[in-house]
Amino acid sequence: MGILTRATKNLSRRKTRALIVIIALSLALTLLIILPPSINAREALTQQTFNDLIGADGALNATVTLSSTEIQCDYPPPYLSPTISISDVNLPQPLMNESLYNNITSIPDVTNVIPILYELPTANRSYTIYGIPLDTASLLKEPSLLPANITDGRNLRVGDSGVVVLDEETAKNFSVSVGGTVTISGLNFTVVGIEGSELPQGTHGATMSLSDAQAVTNATDEASSYNVFVDNIDNVNTVAARISSLDPNLQVTDGLSQLNTAEPLQNQMAELIQAAQNNLNQIQGTGIVEIGIAVIADAAIILFIMLFSVRERTKEIGTLKAMGASDSAILAQFILEGIVLSLIAAIVAIAIGVFAIPTLSSLLLPTPVQVGATPETLPNGTMILTRITSGPRPFLGNGSNIIAAPITPEIMLLGLGTAVLLGALGSLYPALKAARTRPAEAMRYE
């Protein structure tokens, strides 16, 4: 019979009291066991929301494509027209001809007009054709025309012809790499570079010189859009009005209005990110407070019950001392009793936690909100944030609002370790009090 046996046997002495104490302790320990994984699960969800928002923020920034002295004009896609039926969605993008180009060039205060030709995927082609003028003036004025993320080979250069940069997906579909040849609409192109696909604004498919693009799309002297540069910011509105007057069907967007549209959306995005951060802070704050309460409650329960026990067993302590028990033996017995009590409660708490973690964590912690947003441009050029959602996000269970994490063996071990620590800490003072009891006084105690 060792000290552990004595500590355990002593608990069975007052069964009802021990049961009540174990229930109270196990409730406090349940919080300690379920809160850390529940907080972690909520942090993971909030991190996902952060990632979504940061991605959306990047996409929003990518919509600001024009500088402050730049005007973009093109015809809106036909499927956005209210007069087009659903069966006509595959209609090609209307193109602008050379006479329109000449008219725009002749507008006073216009310094450069950069034509861009793109053709979206068709029934016979799964990628976009993207043609840009490969002359020094255009590339100096707007270097962002070139593919931005070359992962293999080189980018397009001034004067290139008969060469193409493919995005990774398109190169994969062609089964071609740098140096290989691809045939597009009957014309052969040498692949000089591969463009990575991790771009917020998306990739180009096949990027080539404007003249090559016009050749493969049979659009000689035509362009999908013009990027018009004005000599002075003060003249942007006048030039934009002049361009609009050339053809009322033209969609004219200038850099300033793009910026003005994006700015409130960026602010809105910042608010959403702040809201997610506040939500995370609230979850962590609530969790820490509750864990603190549970720790204090657990230690306090052990402290009071062991103090009561020491007082109640004063004569017994005196007898043990009279029999030769050392101070350390008395100390060890009472600390061990606190630990055994706490360990039994921890096992009960783990059992409660395994079954009740979803419900309890929902009751104890704020629910993380899912906030997501996607910037989109309306046909009239206005940008908005769409698909803004907020509300509980299920983690376990289908479609329910339950957010929890499983209690892993590591959490169980951590719970048992915490119980041992709190049991030892809570019973330390009563055990010291017991160990320091003077035997003669203890024997006189009634």
Binding site: E316, T319, A322, M323, D327, A329
Partner: protein, 242 residues
Amino acid sequence: MNDLVLKIENLTKIYKIGRREVQPLTNLNLEVKKGEFTAIMGPSGSGKTTLLNVIGCIDKATSGIVLIDNVDAAKLPESKLCKIRRDKIGFIFQNFNLMPYLNARENVELSMELAGKFQGQRGARAKEFLATVGLSGREQHSPQRLSHGEQQRVAIARALAKDPAIILVDEPTGNLDVTNKQEIVKLLVDVNQKQGTTIIMVTHDEQVAAKTQRMLLLNDGKILQDQQKGPFQHESKTKEMH
């Protein structure tokens, strides 16, 4: 000390109760030989229990010498007193003071465990000691299931189990009926005679004291009378103490 197991010289004990000083023992001298069975008698407040506590090292002398098996307990710190209690002293209390959450065998084992004796054979030895005090077959009984007489027998077995130099007995029959009283006293006498254990017993009961070899009468913290009766003879030679 030769055959002396206890020698007390000029023992004084002073307590403080609030601001008031109480002196339950004053310049007390006493010698006890190995194997002696001594009864200490005296009115309430005469210092009997204080003397027993000082001999048992659960209380410290204010001044004087208390030699237990040649070790002066009066000069030792609490940590050393604990070892004397553990190795040299066995206690038997009026209220038995058994551990209520341990059965009879475990109570006896506890005594050996604390003394660090008989590792590996404590269970068997505990049964032997319980048999010695007439409790064979009652080893698994908890104190609550034993009569007062049986509980006191367990307490005697517990004291014997660690083979102490002195057994100190405080009013062993105070809570017992006549039959049990006689049996317990007979048991103590047997232990003293057969095992040669030194026993010092505090009692109010003259009939119980009459069964011992030596009777001390205490009053006001001093030994008034030291009556040596010889080995279990009722003819006594009385020494008046002044």
